[in-house]
Protein backbone atom coordinates (compact mmCIF):
# COMPACT_ATOMS: atom_id res chain seq x y z
CA UNK A 1 0.00 0.00 0.00
CA UNK A 2 1.36 3.40 -0.87
CA UNK A 3 0.48 6.48 1.07
CA UNK A 4 0.06 9.64 -0.99
CA UNK A 5 3.34 11.52 -0.79
CA UNK A 6 3.76 15.25 -0.43
CA UNK A 7 4.35 16.38 -4.07
CA UNK A 8 7.07 18.84 -3.05
CA UNK A 9 9.03 16.13 -1.19
CA UNK A 10 8.54 13.70 -4.08
CA UNK A 11 9.89 16.33 -6.47
CA UNK A 12 12.94 16.79 -4.23
CA UNK A 13 13.57 13.04 -4.30
CA UNK A 14 13.23 12.98 -8.09
CA UNK A 15 15.60 15.92 -8.50
CA UNK A 16 18.17 14.16 -6.31
CA UNK A 17 17.96 10.94 -8.34
CA UNK A 18 18.23 12.91 -11.57
CA UNK A 19 21.34 14.70 -10.33
CA UNK A 20 23.13 11.44 -9.55
CA UNK A 21 22.11 9.95 -12.90
CA UNK A 22 23.42 13.04 -14.66
CA UNK A 23 26.89 12.30 -13.27
CA UNK A 24 27.13 9.42 -15.75
CA UNK A 25 26.56 11.68 -18.77
CA UNK A 26 30.18 12.63 -19.58
CA UNK A 27 31.23 8.98 -19.52
CA UNK A 28 28.19 7.90 -21.57
CA UNK A 29 29.00 10.61 -24.10
CA UNK A 30 32.58 9.40 -24.54
CA UNK A 31 31.56 5.73 -24.73
CA UNK A 32 28.96 6.63 -27.33
CA UNK A 33 31.44 8.65 -29.32
CA UNK A 34 34.41 6.31 -29.08
CA UNK A 35 32.75 2.90 -29.13
CA UNK A 36 29.23 2.86 -30.47
CA UNK A 37 29.72 5.28 -33.36
CA UNK A 38 32.78 3.48 -34.78
CA UNK A 39 30.97 0.14 -34.50
CA UNK A 40 28.03 1.54 -36.46
CA UNK A 41 30.49 2.96 -38.97
CA UNK A 42 32.21 -0.44 -39.33
CA UNK A 43 28.87 -2.17 -39.88
CA UNK A 44 28.08 0.36 -42.63
CA UNK A 45 31.56 -0.01 -44.13
CA UNK A 46 31.19 -3.80 -44.31
CA UNK A 47 28.31 -3.39 -46.77
CA UNK A 48 30.11 -0.98 -49.11
CA UNK A 49 32.40 -1.56 -52.08
CA UNK A 50 35.58 0.51 -52.46
CA UNK A 51 33.52 2.64 -54.83
CA UNK A 52 30.93 3.27 -52.12
CA UNK A 53 28.04 1.17 -53.47
CA UNK A 54 25.98 -1.21 -51.40
CA UNK A 55 27.10 -4.87 -51.55
CA UNK A 56 27.22 -8.18 -49.67
CA UNK A 57 30.33 -9.13 -51.62
CA UNK A 58 32.62 -8.36 -48.68
CA UNK A 59 30.88 -11.01 -46.61
CA UNK A 60 31.01 -13.56 -49.44
CA UNK A 61 34.71 -12.93 -49.96
CA UNK A 62 35.74 -13.07 -46.31
CA UNK A 63 33.54 -15.95 -45.22
CA UNK A 64 34.56 -18.15 -48.17
CA UNK A 65 38.28 -17.61 -47.54
CA UNK A 66 40.20 -20.40 -45.80
CA UNK A 67 42.46 -17.76 -44.24
CA UNK A 68 39.50 -16.35 -42.30
CA UNK A 69 38.57 -19.69 -40.82
CA UNK A 70 42.15 -20.57 -39.88
CA UNK A 71 42.42 -17.14 -38.24
CA UNK A 72 39.24 -17.85 -36.32
CA UNK A 73 40.61 -21.19 -35.14
CA UNK A 74 43.92 -19.56 -34.14
CA UNK A 75 42.04 -16.85 -32.22
CA UNK A 76 40.02 -19.43 -30.30
CA UNK A 77 43.07 -21.64 -29.65
CA UNK A 78 45.11 -18.72 -28.41
CA UNK A 79 42.31 -17.43 -26.17
CA UNK A 80 41.48 -20.81 -24.63
CA UNK A 81 45.17 -21.71 -24.31
CA UNK A 82 45.96 -18.44 -22.55
CA UNK A 83 42.93 -18.83 -20.29
CA UNK A 84 43.82 -22.43 -19.43
CA UNK A 85 47.34 -21.45 -18.37
CA UNK A 86 46.05 -18.41 -16.47
CA UNK A 87 43.68 -20.64 -14.48
CA UNK A 88 46.34 -23.30 -13.89
CA UNK A 89 49.02 -20.82 -12.80
CA UNK A 90 46.88 -18.01 -11.42
CA UNK A 91 44.54 -19.88 -9.10
CA UNK A 92 47.29 -21.41 -6.92
CA UNK A 93 49.14 -18.09 -6.98
CA UNK A 94 46.01 -16.23 -5.84
CA UNK A 95 45.55 -18.76 -3.03
CA UNK A 96 49.17 -18.29 -1.97
CA UNK A 97 48.75 -14.50 -1.96
CA UNK A 98 45.42 -14.64 -0.13
CA UNK A 99 46.80 -16.86 2.62
CA UNK A 100 50.10 -14.99 3.04
CA UNK A 101 50.54 -12.48 5.84
CA UNK A 102 49.53 -8.96 4.68
CA UNK A 103 53.13 -7.66 4.44
CA UNK A 104 54.29 -10.64 2.39
CA UNK A 105 51.13 -10.51 0.27
CA UNK A 106 51.71 -6.83 -0.56
CA UNK A 107 55.31 -7.51 -1.56
CA UNK A 108 54.34 -10.45 -3.77
CA UNK A 109 51.53 -8.37 -5.24
CA UNK A 110 54.02 -5.66 -6.22
CA UNK A 111 56.01 -8.28 -8.14
CA UNK A 112 52.87 -9.46 -9.88
CA UNK A 113 51.84 -5.91 -10.77
CA UNK A 114 55.28 -4.73 -11.90
CA UNK A 115 54.84 -6.06 -15.47
CA UNK A 116 51.55 -4.15 -15.76
CA UNK A 117 53.48 -0.90 -15.34
CA UNK A 118 55.95 -1.83 -18.07
CA UNK A 119 55.26 -1.07 -21.70
CA UNK A 120 53.82 -4.05 -23.55
CA UNK A 121 56.38 -3.61 -26.35
CA UNK A 122 59.31 -3.69 -23.94
CA UNK A 123 57.94 -6.83 -22.33
CA UNK A 124 57.28 -8.57 -25.62
CA UNK A 125 60.74 -7.82 -26.97
CA UNK A 126 62.07 -8.92 -23.59
CA UNK A 127 60.59 -12.34 -24.22
CA UNK A 128 62.21 -12.33 -27.64
CA UNK A 129 65.62 -11.90 -25.99
CA UNK A 130 64.91 -14.79 -23.64
CA UNK A 131 63.26 -17.21 -26.05
CA UNK A 132 65.04 -16.93 -29.43
CA UNK A 133 67.49 -19.58 -30.70
CA UNK A 134 70.54 -17.79 -29.25
CA UNK A 135 68.51 -16.48 -26.29
CA UNK A 136 69.19 -16.95 -22.60
CA UNK A 137 66.93 -19.97 -22.16
CA UNK A 138 68.23 -21.91 -25.14
CA UNK A 139 71.81 -21.00 -24.22
CA UNK A 140 71.24 -22.42 -20.74
CA UNK A 141 69.53 -25.55 -22.09
CA UNK A 142 72.18 -26.41 -24.67
CA UNK A 143 75.03 -25.21 -22.46
CA UNK A 144 74.03 -27.53 -19.63
CA UNK A 145 73.50 -30.37 -22.10
CA UNK A 146 69.80 -30.75 -21.27
CA UNK A 147 68.97 -30.47 -24.96
CA UNK A 148 71.26 -31.08 -27.92
CA UNK A 149 69.51 -28.57 -30.18
CA UNK A 150 67.98 -25.21 -29.25
CA UNK A 151 64.22 -25.53 -28.71
CA UNK A 152 61.90 -23.61 -31.05
CA UNK A 153 60.43 -21.33 -28.37
CA UNK A 154 59.61 -18.27 -30.38
CA UNK A 155 58.19 -17.21 -33.77
CA UNK A 156 55.53 -19.89 -33.25
CA UNK A 157 52.41 -20.68 -31.20
CA UNK A 158 54.43 -21.62 -28.08
CA UNK A 159 56.21 -18.28 -27.96
CA UNK A 160 52.99 -16.36 -28.54
CA UNK A 161 51.25 -18.31 -25.78
CA UNK A 162 54.11 -17.63 -23.33
CA UNK A 163 53.93 -13.91 -24.06
CA UNK A 164 50.15 -13.83 -23.79
CA UNK A 165 50.02 -15.73 -20.50
CA UNK A 166 52.65 -13.41 -19.07
CA UNK A 167 50.57 -10.39 -19.99
CA UNK A 168 47.21 -11.77 -18.88
CA UNK A 169 48.19 -13.43 -15.60
CA UNK A 170 47.96 -10.28 -13.42
CA UNK A 171 44.60 -9.40 -14.97
CA UNK A 172 43.32 -12.86 -14.10
CA UNK A 173 44.93 -12.85 -10.68
CA UNK A 174 43.39 -9.64 -9.33
CA UNK A 175 39.70 -10.67 -9.21
CA UNK A 176 40.55 -14.21 -8.08
CA UNK A 177 42.79 -12.86 -5.31
CA UNK A 178 40.07 -10.42 -4.25
CA UNK A 179 37.48 -13.22 -4.09
CA UNK A 180 39.78 -15.47 -2.06
CA UNK A 181 40.83 -12.73 0.31
CA UNK A 182 37.18 -12.02 1.05
CA UNK A 183 36.54 -15.58 2.22
CA UNK A 184 35.96 -15.51 5.98
CA UNK A 185 38.99 -17.12 7.66
CA UNK A 186 36.59 -18.79 10.09
CA UNK A 187 35.11 -20.83 7.22
CA UNK A 188 38.54 -22.32 6.63
CA UNK A 189 38.99 -22.90 10.35
CA UNK A 190 35.51 -24.42 10.66
CA UNK A 191 36.27 -26.80 7.83
CA UNK A 192 39.54 -27.87 9.48
CA UNK A 193 37.89 -28.27 12.88
CA UNK A 194 35.42 -30.70 11.36
CA UNK A 195 38.28 -32.82 10.07
CA UNK A 196 39.07 -31.50 6.58
CA UNK A 197 42.62 -31.70 5.31
CA UNK A 198 43.99 -28.63 3.58
CA UNK A 199 43.27 -30.20 0.18
CA UNK A 200 39.68 -30.95 1.17
CA UNK A 201 39.20 -27.40 2.47
CA UNK A 202 40.51 -25.97 -0.81
CA UNK A 203 38.24 -28.23 -2.85
CA UNK A 204 35.06 -27.92 -0.80
CA UNK A 205 35.25 -24.39 0.57
CA UNK A 206 37.83 -22.11 -1.03
CA UNK A 207 37.37 -22.98 -4.71
CA UNK A 208 33.56 -23.01 -4.66
CA UNK A 209 33.57 -19.61 -2.96
CA UNK A 210 36.07 -18.20 -5.50
CA UNK A 211 34.15 -19.19 -8.62
CA UNK A 212 32.81 -15.64 -8.97
CA UNK A 213 36.37 -14.27 -9.08
CA UNK A 214 37.55 -17.02 -11.41
CA UNK A 215 34.68 -16.23 -13.78
CA UNK A 216 35.39 -12.49 -13.75
CA UNK A 217 39.12 -13.12 -14.28
CA UNK A 218 38.42 -15.53 -17.14
CA UNK A 219 36.09 -13.07 -18.82
CA UNK A 220 38.67 -10.28 -18.58
CA UNK A 221 41.35 -12.55 -20.02
CA UNK A 222 39.04 -13.51 -22.86
CA UNK A 223 38.09 -9.97 -23.71
CA UNK A 224 41.76 -9.01 -23.85
CA UNK A 225 43.15 -12.04 -25.69
CA UNK A 226 40.50 -12.30 -28.36
CA UNK A 227 41.59 -9.11 -30.10
CA UNK A 228 45.20 -9.01 -28.93
CA UNK A 229 47.65 -7.86 -31.58
CA UNK A 230 51.15 -6.96 -30.40
CA UNK A 231 52.19 -10.27 -28.85
CA UNK A 232 51.20 -12.51 -31.80
CA UNK A 233 52.69 -9.94 -34.17
CA UNK A 234 56.10 -9.88 -32.43
CA UNK A 235 56.38 -13.40 -31.01
CA UNK A 236 54.38 -15.25 -33.67
CA UNK A 237 56.88 -14.53 -36.43
CA UNK A 238 54.17 -14.49 -39.11
CA UNK A 239 53.13 -18.06 -38.31
CA UNK A 240 50.50 -17.22 -35.72
CA UNK A 241 47.70 -15.28 -37.37
CA UNK A 242 44.62 -14.62 -35.28
CA UNK A 243 41.81 -12.36 -36.51
CA UNK A 244 43.51 -9.23 -35.18
CA UNK A 245 46.50 -9.81 -37.44
CA UNK A 246 44.32 -10.66 -40.43
CA UNK A 247 42.49 -7.35 -39.93
CA UNK A 248 45.72 -5.41 -39.79
CA UNK A 249 47.10 -7.16 -42.86
CA UNK A 250 43.88 -6.67 -44.83
CA UNK A 251 44.13 -2.96 -44.12
CA UNK A 252 47.87 -2.33 -44.49
CA UNK A 253 48.46 -4.61 -47.50
CA UNK A 254 45.19 -4.36 -49.43
CA UNK A 255 43.59 -1.18 -48.03
CA UNK A 256 40.40 -3.27 -48.13
CA UNK A 257 38.19 -1.51 -45.57
CA UNK A 258 35.16 -3.56 -46.47
CA UNK A 259 36.78 -6.95 -45.77
CA UNK A 260 38.53 -5.62 -42.66
CA UNK A 261 35.16 -4.43 -41.37
CA UNK A 262 33.65 -7.88 -41.93
CA UNK A 263 36.55 -9.44 -40.00
CA UNK A 264 35.99 -6.92 -37.22
CA UNK A 265 32.33 -7.85 -37.04
CA UNK A 266 33.31 -11.51 -36.95
CA UNK A 267 35.51 -10.75 -33.92
CA UNK A 268 32.62 -8.92 -32.28
CA UNK A 269 30.25 -11.84 -32.87
CA UNK A 270 32.82 -14.31 -31.49
CA UNK A 271 33.21 -12.17 -28.38
CA UNK A 272 29.44 -11.98 -27.91
CA UNK A 273 29.07 -15.74 -28.35
CA UNK A 274 31.74 -16.49 -25.79
CA UNK A 275 30.28 -13.88 -23.44
CA UNK A 276 26.88 -15.57 -23.62
CA UNK A 277 28.55 -18.95 -23.02
CA UNK A 278 30.21 -17.56 -19.91
CA UNK A 279 27.01 -16.11 -18.53
CA UNK A 280 25.15 -19.36 -19.18
CA UNK A 281 27.87 -21.38 -17.44
CA UNK A 282 27.74 -18.99 -14.51
CA UNK A 283 23.97 -19.32 -14.23
CA UNK A 284 24.24 -23.09 -14.35
CA UNK A 285 26.85 -23.21 -11.60
CA UNK A 286 24.88 -20.86 -9.39
CA UNK A 287 21.81 -23.07 -9.77
CA UNK A 288 23.75 -26.19 -8.82
CA UNK A 289 25.40 -24.68 -5.78
CA UNK A 290 23.36 -26.67 -3.30
CA UNK A 291 25.12 -29.93 -3.86
CA UNK A 292 25.70 -32.06 -0.84
CA UNK A 293 29.05 -31.88 0.86
CA UNK A 294 31.26 -33.80 -1.57
CA UNK A 295 34.46 -34.30 0.35
Amino acid sequence: MTVLADPALAADARRERRFFLSLSLPALFIVGLAAILPILWIIRQSFLTTGGEYTVGNYEKVLSSGLTWSALVTTVELSFGTLAFCILLGTPLALALASARPRVANLLMAFVMLPLWTSILVRTYGWLVLLRREGLINAALTGSGLTAEPLPLVYNFTGTLIGMVHYMLPLFLLPVYAAMRDIDANLVRASASMGATLGQTIRTVILPLSTGGIFSGSLIVFIYTIGFFITPAVLGGGKVNPLSIRIERTLSTFQDWGSASVLGILLLVLMALIGVMFLAARRLMARNKFGTAHA
Partner: protein, 346 residues
Protein backbone atom coordinates in the same frame (compact mmCIF):
# COMPACT_ATOMS: atom_id res chain seq x y z
CA UNK B 1 25.44 -40.25 25.35
CA UNK B 2 28.87 -39.81 23.79
CA UNK B 3 32.03 -40.35 25.73
CA UNK B 4 33.54 -37.01 26.61
CA UNK B 5 37.06 -36.27 27.75
CA UNK B 6 38.72 -34.04 30.34
CA UNK B 7 41.03 -31.24 29.19
CA UNK B 8 44.27 -30.19 30.82
CA UNK B 9 45.86 -26.86 30.03
CA UNK B 10 49.37 -26.76 31.50
CA UNK B 11 51.34 -23.48 31.72
CA UNK B 12 50.39 -22.30 28.26
CA UNK B 13 52.02 -19.06 27.16
CA UNK B 14 51.47 -17.08 23.98
CA UNK B 15 52.98 -13.70 23.16
CA UNK B 16 52.60 -11.52 20.08
CA UNK B 17 55.74 -9.42 20.15
CA UNK B 18 55.78 -7.73 23.53
CA UNK B 19 52.03 -8.31 24.04
CA UNK B 20 51.40 -11.35 26.23
CA UNK B 21 48.05 -12.88 25.26
CA UNK B 22 48.35 -15.92 27.52
CA UNK B 23 50.56 -15.68 30.58
CA UNK B 24 51.28 -19.22 31.78
CA UNK B 25 47.67 -20.33 31.96
CA UNK B 26 46.89 -23.63 33.67
CA UNK B 27 43.41 -25.08 33.88
CA UNK B 28 41.82 -28.49 34.40
CA UNK B 29 38.41 -29.12 32.90
CA UNK B 30 36.57 -32.27 33.92
CA UNK B 31 34.93 -34.66 31.50
CA UNK B 32 31.41 -33.48 30.78
CA UNK B 33 31.89 -30.13 32.48
CA UNK B 34 30.50 -26.83 31.15
CA UNK B 35 33.23 -24.29 31.78
CA UNK B 36 33.06 -20.65 30.76
CA UNK B 37 36.03 -18.41 30.05
CA UNK B 38 34.83 -14.97 31.01
CA UNK B 39 36.68 -11.72 30.54
CA UNK B 40 36.81 -8.38 28.76
CA UNK B 41 38.10 -8.20 25.19
CA UNK B 42 41.84 -8.68 25.06
CA UNK B 43 41.84 -10.81 28.21
CA UNK B 44 43.12 -13.88 26.33
CA UNK B 45 39.95 -15.98 26.45
CA UNK B 46 39.58 -16.37 22.70
CA UNK B 47 43.32 -16.95 22.28
CA UNK B 48 43.07 -19.80 24.78
CA UNK B 49 40.09 -21.26 22.92
CA UNK B 50 41.90 -21.00 19.58
CA UNK B 51 44.95 -22.69 21.11
CA UNK B 52 42.73 -25.60 22.15
CA UNK B 53 41.26 -25.71 18.64
CA UNK B 54 44.75 -25.72 17.15
CA UNK B 55 44.59 -22.39 15.32
CA UNK B 56 46.96 -20.63 17.69
CA UNK B 57 50.31 -22.27 18.37
CA UNK B 58 51.38 -21.70 21.99
CA UNK B 59 54.95 -20.54 22.63
CA UNK B 60 55.22 -23.14 25.34
CA UNK B 61 53.11 -25.29 27.63
CA UNK B 62 50.99 -28.35 27.06
CA UNK B 63 47.43 -29.14 26.05
CA UNK B 64 46.00 -32.55 26.92
CA UNK B 65 42.76 -34.08 25.71
CA UNK B 66 42.16 -36.99 28.08
CA UNK B 67 45.73 -38.22 28.46
CA UNK B 68 46.67 -37.47 24.88
CA UNK B 69 49.05 -34.57 24.23
CA UNK B 70 47.46 -32.47 21.47
CA UNK B 71 49.80 -29.47 21.70
CA UNK B 72 51.28 -30.14 18.26
CA UNK B 73 48.34 -32.00 16.72
CA UNK B 74 46.85 -30.49 13.54
CA UNK B 75 43.41 -28.88 14.03
CA UNK B 76 41.70 -31.36 11.71
CA UNK B 77 42.90 -34.31 13.81
CA UNK B 78 41.70 -33.00 17.19
CA UNK B 79 38.08 -34.10 16.91
CA UNK B 80 36.81 -30.93 18.57
CA UNK B 81 33.49 -29.35 17.67
CA UNK B 82 33.63 -25.56 17.35
CA UNK B 83 30.86 -22.97 17.21
CA UNK B 84 32.21 -19.67 15.92
CA UNK B 85 31.08 -16.19 16.83
CA UNK B 86 29.87 -15.48 13.28
CA UNK B 87 28.65 -19.10 12.88
CA UNK B 88 31.02 -19.75 9.93
CA UNK B 89 28.35 -21.61 7.96
CA UNK B 90 29.26 -22.45 4.37
CA UNK B 91 27.21 -20.04 2.24
CA UNK B 92 27.47 -22.24 -0.85
CA UNK B 93 25.76 -25.20 0.83
CA UNK B 94 22.24 -25.49 2.18
CA UNK B 95 21.43 -26.35 5.80
CA UNK B 96 21.59 -30.11 5.30
CA UNK B 97 24.85 -29.98 3.33
CA UNK B 98 26.41 -27.86 6.08
CA UNK B 99 25.45 -30.38 8.75
CA UNK B 100 26.45 -33.37 6.61
CA UNK B 101 29.83 -31.80 5.85
CA UNK B 102 31.82 -33.28 8.77
CA UNK B 103 30.24 -36.70 8.09
CA UNK B 104 31.09 -36.53 4.38
CA UNK B 105 34.70 -35.82 5.36
CA UNK B 106 34.63 -38.98 7.45
CA UNK B 107 33.28 -41.01 4.52
CA UNK B 108 30.14 -41.87 6.46
CA UNK B 109 27.75 -43.79 4.16
CA UNK B 110 25.28 -41.39 2.55
CA UNK B 111 22.11 -42.77 4.12
CA UNK B 112 23.61 -42.79 7.60
CA UNK B 113 25.00 -39.27 7.15
CA UNK B 114 21.57 -38.06 6.11
CA UNK B 115 19.91 -39.72 9.12
CA UNK B 116 22.44 -38.34 11.61
CA UNK B 117 22.29 -34.83 10.10
CA UNK B 118 18.50 -34.81 10.35
CA UNK B 119 18.79 -36.09 13.94
CA UNK B 120 21.15 -33.25 14.80
CA UNK B 121 18.83 -30.73 13.17
CA UNK B 122 15.92 -32.14 15.18
CA UNK B 123 17.96 -31.78 18.37
CA UNK B 124 18.35 -28.06 17.73
CA UNK B 125 14.67 -27.80 16.70
CA UNK B 126 15.33 -27.09 13.05
CA UNK B 127 13.40 -30.00 11.55
CA UNK B 128 11.85 -28.96 8.28
CA UNK B 129 14.52 -26.40 7.37
CA UNK B 130 17.04 -28.91 5.98
CA UNK B 131 16.73 -27.74 2.38
CA UNK B 132 16.83 -24.04 3.26
CA UNK B 133 19.51 -21.74 1.87
CA UNK B 134 21.80 -20.31 4.58
CA UNK B 135 21.10 -16.76 3.42
CA UNK B 136 17.37 -17.34 4.06
CA UNK B 137 17.90 -18.09 7.77
CA UNK B 138 17.51 -15.73 10.71
CA UNK B 139 20.41 -15.20 13.13
CA UNK B 140 18.93 -17.60 15.65
CA UNK B 141 18.41 -20.29 13.02
CA UNK B 142 21.99 -19.91 11.80
CA UNK B 143 23.14 -20.32 15.37
CA UNK B 144 21.20 -23.60 15.58
CA UNK B 145 22.67 -24.87 12.31
CA UNK B 146 26.14 -24.10 13.64
CA UNK B 147 25.32 -26.08 16.79
CA UNK B 148 23.95 -29.02 14.81
CA UNK B 149 27.04 -29.04 12.61
CA UNK B 150 29.33 -29.00 15.66
CA UNK B 151 27.61 -31.93 17.42
CA UNK B 152 26.75 -34.13 14.43
CA UNK B 153 30.16 -35.83 14.29
CA UNK B 154 30.06 -36.54 18.03
CA UNK B 155 33.24 -34.70 19.01
CA UNK B 156 34.76 -35.35 22.45
CA UNK B 157 34.93 -31.66 23.27
CA UNK B 158 32.97 -28.62 22.22
CA UNK B 159 34.37 -25.08 22.02
CA UNK B 160 32.10 -22.06 21.67
CA UNK B 161 33.43 -18.58 20.91
CA UNK B 162 30.84 -15.98 21.97
CA UNK B 163 28.20 -17.84 19.98
CA UNK B 164 25.32 -15.65 21.12
CA UNK B 165 26.87 -12.19 20.90
CA UNK B 166 25.19 -11.37 17.57
CA UNK B 167 21.66 -12.22 18.73
CA UNK B 168 19.18 -9.83 20.33
CA UNK B 169 18.51 -10.09 24.04
CA UNK B 170 15.39 -12.29 24.11
CA UNK B 171 16.76 -14.78 21.61
CA UNK B 172 20.06 -14.83 23.48
CA UNK B 173 18.32 -15.85 26.68
CA UNK B 174 16.40 -18.64 24.94
CA UNK B 175 19.58 -19.93 23.32
CA UNK B 176 21.44 -19.86 26.64
CA UNK B 177 19.01 -22.40 28.06
CA UNK B 178 19.01 -24.44 24.88
CA UNK B 179 22.77 -24.69 24.64
CA UNK B 180 22.91 -25.72 28.29
CA UNK B 181 20.15 -28.30 27.72
CA UNK B 182 22.02 -29.66 24.69
CA UNK B 183 25.13 -29.94 26.83
CA UNK B 184 23.25 -31.79 29.55
CA UNK B 185 21.67 -34.17 26.99
CA UNK B 186 24.96 -34.99 25.32
CA UNK B 187 27.24 -34.72 28.36
CA UNK B 188 29.97 -33.27 26.20
CA UNK B 189 32.87 -31.35 27.75
CA UNK B 190 32.24 -27.74 26.76
CA UNK B 191 34.38 -24.64 26.93
CA UNK B 192 32.37 -21.51 26.35
CA UNK B 193 33.83 -18.04 25.81
CA UNK B 194 31.85 -14.91 26.62
CA UNK B 195 32.30 -11.38 27.89
CA UNK B 196 28.75 -11.36 29.30
CA UNK B 197 28.87 -12.11 33.03
CA UNK B 198 25.15 -12.92 33.29
CA UNK B 199 25.50 -15.47 30.51
CA UNK B 200 28.46 -17.04 32.29
CA UNK B 201 26.55 -17.26 35.58
CA UNK B 202 23.43 -18.75 33.98
CA UNK B 203 25.11 -21.38 31.86
CA UNK B 204 28.20 -22.66 33.59
CA UNK B 205 29.25 -25.38 36.01
CA UNK B 206 32.35 -23.32 36.64
CA UNK B 207 33.53 -19.92 35.47
CA UNK B 208 37.15 -18.93 34.85
CA UNK B 209 37.48 -15.14 34.94
CA UNK B 210 40.37 -13.96 32.78
CA UNK B 211 42.16 -10.64 32.58
CA UNK B 212 45.46 -9.65 30.90
CA UNK B 213 46.20 -13.20 29.82
CA UNK B 214 45.73 -14.72 33.26
CA UNK B 215 43.02 -16.61 35.04
CA UNK B 216 41.97 -14.40 37.93
CA UNK B 217 39.64 -16.87 39.59
CA UNK B 218 38.03 -20.17 38.74
CA UNK B 219 35.02 -21.31 40.71
CA UNK B 220 31.29 -22.00 40.64
CA UNK B 221 29.13 -19.08 39.45
CA UNK B 222 27.86 -18.45 42.99
CA UNK B 223 31.33 -18.36 44.53
CA UNK B 224 32.62 -16.11 41.74
CA UNK B 225 29.74 -13.71 42.30
CA UNK B 226 29.58 -13.71 46.09
CA UNK B 227 33.21 -14.40 46.96
CA UNK B 228 35.39 -12.76 44.29
CA UNK B 229 39.07 -13.21 45.03
CA UNK B 230 40.21 -9.98 43.42
CA UNK B 231 38.86 -6.52 42.93
CA UNK B 232 38.84 -7.07 39.17
CA UNK B 233 36.58 -10.11 39.51
CA UNK B 234 34.32 -8.27 41.96
CA UNK B 235 33.80 -5.35 39.60
CA UNK B 236 33.56 -7.41 36.44
CA UNK B 237 30.82 -9.61 37.85
CA UNK B 238 28.24 -6.92 38.54
CA UNK B 239 27.51 -3.71 40.40
CA UNK B 240 30.12 -4.09 43.11
CA UNK B 241 30.94 -1.52 45.74
CA UNK B 242 34.50 -1.72 46.96
CA UNK B 243 34.43 -0.16 50.40
CA UNK B 244 37.65 1.13 51.92
CA UNK B 245 38.65 -0.23 55.37
CA UNK B 246 36.82 1.66 58.10
CA UNK B 247 34.15 3.25 55.91
CA UNK B 248 31.49 0.76 57.05
CA UNK B 249 30.38 0.48 60.68
CA UNK B 250 28.82 -2.55 62.38
CA UNK B 251 25.15 -2.08 63.26
CA UNK B 252 25.71 -3.64 66.72
CA UNK B 253 28.58 -1.26 67.40
CA UNK B 254 31.30 -3.96 67.35
CA UNK B 255 34.66 -3.17 65.77
CA UNK B 256 34.34 -2.86 62.00
CA UNK B 257 36.49 -4.92 59.71
CA UNK B 258 39.99 -3.61 58.89
CA UNK B 259 39.78 -5.12 55.41
CA UNK B 260 38.61 -3.90 52.02
CA UNK B 261 34.99 -4.97 51.63
CA UNK B 262 32.96 -5.88 48.58
CA UNK B 263 29.23 -5.31 48.83
CA UNK B 264 26.98 -5.82 45.79
CA UNK B 265 24.56 -2.98 45.08
CA UNK B 266 21.57 -5.31 45.41
CA UNK B 267 22.67 -6.58 48.85
CA UNK B 268 21.63 -3.32 50.52
CA UNK B 269 18.41 -2.57 52.38
CA UNK B 270 17.15 0.74 53.66
CA UNK B 271 15.58 -0.95 56.71
CA UNK B 272 18.04 -1.97 59.46
CA UNK B 273 15.58 -4.51 60.91
CA UNK B 274 15.79 -6.81 57.84
CA UNK B 275 19.57 -6.96 57.99
CA UNK B 276 20.32 -8.25 61.48
CA UNK B 277 22.60 -6.86 64.17
CA UNK B 278 25.83 -8.24 62.75
CA UNK B 279 25.30 -6.43 59.44
CA UNK B 280 27.03 -3.23 58.37
CA UNK B 281 25.73 0.28 57.83
CA UNK B 282 26.97 2.89 55.36
CA UNK B 283 25.77 6.43 55.76
CA UNK B 284 25.95 9.12 53.12
CA UNK B 285 24.25 11.81 51.09
CA UNK B 286 21.93 10.88 48.22
CA UNK B 287 23.54 12.07 45.00
CA UNK B 288 21.25 10.58 42.38
CA UNK B 289 18.39 8.15 42.04
CA UNK B 290 17.09 6.30 39.02
CA UNK B 291 14.05 4.09 38.52
CA UNK B 292 15.02 1.04 36.44
CA UNK B 293 11.73 -0.85 36.33
CA UNK B 294 12.46 -3.80 38.59
CA UNK B 295 14.50 -1.70 41.00
CA UNK B 296 15.69 1.70 42.11
CA UNK B 297 19.35 2.63 41.81
CA UNK B 298 20.58 5.11 44.41
CA UNK B 299 23.99 6.75 44.35
CA UNK B 300 25.25 7.63 47.84
CA UNK B 301 28.27 9.80 48.58
CA UNK B 302 29.87 8.45 51.76
CA UNK B 303 31.35 10.94 54.18
CA UNK B 304 34.86 9.72 53.31
CA UNK B 305 34.15 10.94 49.75
CA UNK B 306 33.59 7.55 48.09
CA UNK B 307 30.42 6.93 46.08
CA UNK B 308 28.48 3.68 46.38
CA UNK B 309 25.60 2.23 44.38
CA UNK B 310 22.57 0.95 46.23
CA UNK B 311 20.00 -1.11 44.39
CA UNK B 312 16.60 -1.55 46.03
CA UNK B 313 14.02 -3.94 44.49
CA UNK B 314 10.94 -1.98 43.46
CA UNK B 315 8.75 -4.29 45.58
CA UNK B 316 10.62 -3.24 48.76
CA UNK B 317 11.24 0.34 47.74
CA UNK B 318 8.24 2.12 49.16
CA UNK B 319 9.63 5.52 49.96
CA UNK B 320 12.34 5.59 47.31
CA UNK B 321 10.21 7.77 45.08
CA UNK B 322 10.01 10.39 47.85
CA UNK B 323 13.77 10.52 48.52
CA UNK B 324 15.31 13.83 47.50
CA UNK B 325 18.88 14.34 46.43
CA UNK B 326 20.97 15.89 49.19
CA UNK B 327 19.07 13.91 51.82
CA UNK B 328 20.97 11.72 54.36
CA UNK B 329 20.46 8.01 53.65
CA UNK B 330 21.79 4.96 55.48
CA UNK B 331 22.17 1.68 53.59
CA UNK B 332 22.40 -1.61 55.48
CA UNK B 333 23.89 -4.90 54.27
CA UNK B 334 23.63 -8.30 56.04
CA UNK B 335 26.91 -9.84 57.21
CA UNK B 336 26.54 -12.78 54.80
CA UNK B 337 26.65 -10.40 51.86
CA UNK B 338 29.72 -8.50 53.00
CA UNK B 339 32.81 -10.04 51.50
CA UNK B 340 36.37 -9.14 52.44
CA UNK B 341 38.61 -9.14 49.35
CA UNK B 342 41.86 -10.80 50.34
CA UNK B 343 44.86 -8.53 49.94
CA UNK B 344 42.97 -5.79 48.11
CA UNK B 345 43.59 -2.12 48.72
CA UNK B 346 40.64 0.07 47.87
Amino acid sequence: MMKSLPITIDSVRKAYGSYVALDDVSLDIQAGEFLTLLGPSGSGKTTLLMALAGFVRPDRGKLLLGDRDITRLAPNKRDIGIVFQNYALFPHMNVLANVEYPLALRKTPKAEARRRALDALARVKLDGLAERDIAALSGGQRQRVALARAIVFEPRVMLMDEPLSALDKNLRETMQYEIRRLHDDLGITTIYVTHDQREALIMSDRVAVMNSGRIQQIDTPQQIYDRPSTRFVAEFMGEANIVAPGAARRIDGADASRETLMIRAESFHLDAKIVGRDGVALEGTLRAKAFRGENWLLTLALDAGQEILVCIPAALASGCAELATGQRVTAYAPAAKVHAIPGAVA
